[in-house]
């Protein structure tokens, strides 16, 4: 089966500009996650969708970050305006279903964002 697809793979922007990332999960996976991974750290969950509804966005900086998952399939994550500290790898993951105990997640290759 095809894995999680993400684009672009790399992006360089100046601070205060906007940027958008796209993710297409594995077919049939109802749960989609966006993570931010700063160099040398583990992934930090930004937002979790179940189908097209948000189930957790407690760590999403809502003043500048937004995400949507229209039709419950692919998703976009936007940053507007970007700050230097947003430089990181943005990972998308999906799982077959939301499990209270923690589901196995399948990750895409990530988008490396550099803000100058």
């Amino acid at each position: 089966e095809a894995g999680v697809a993400q684009s672009p793979r790399y992006k360089i922007i100046e601070k205060r500009q906007s940027v958008a990332f796209w993710c297409n999960p594995i077919s049939g996976h109802a749960t989609l996650y966006w993570y931010q991974q700063i160099l040398g750290q583990g992934p930090k969950l930004l937002i979790q969708f179940q189908n097209n509804g948000v189930v957790d966005d407690s760590q999403l900086p809502k003043d500048r970050f937004s995400a949507e998952r229209l039709k419950g399939v692919d998703s976009t994550l936007k940053i507007q305006p970007a700050k230097l500290e947003d430089s990181a790898v943005y990972l998308c993951a999906s799982s077959y279903r939301r499990v209270a105990g923690g589901a196995v997640q399948y990750f895409g290759p990530g988008t490396r964002l550099t803000v100058t």
């Binding site: 583990g42 992934p43 993951a93 209270a100 105990g101 923690g102 196995v104 990750f107």
Partner: protein, 111 residues
Amino acid sequence: SQQGEEDPQALSIQEGENATMNCSYKTSINNLQWYRQNSGRGLVHLILIRSNEREKHSGRLRVTLDTSKKSSSLLITASRAADTASYFCATAPTNAGKSTFGDGTTLTVKP
């Protein structure tokens, strides 16, 4: 703060040796997972162990879980250069529906 924390932060061994890394966590969990991340790539799921399990094997991987000590260990036997990667534990607390990742152990296996 992180729910799971890996130890050591970095580990360097020779090919053929065993590698052991540990994960400690703070609250009760439903399960604990280990993932691998090669440089510049996404994470790959390795193994999941439930709170009622004590040990699990998958090929050259052995995972143990001690809920009384709130810790887990990942053992990679007969390591290969291709095992060079960062390894993360992800813990799923019983009162939450999401897993939280630690900052990982970076393993270097020298040929």
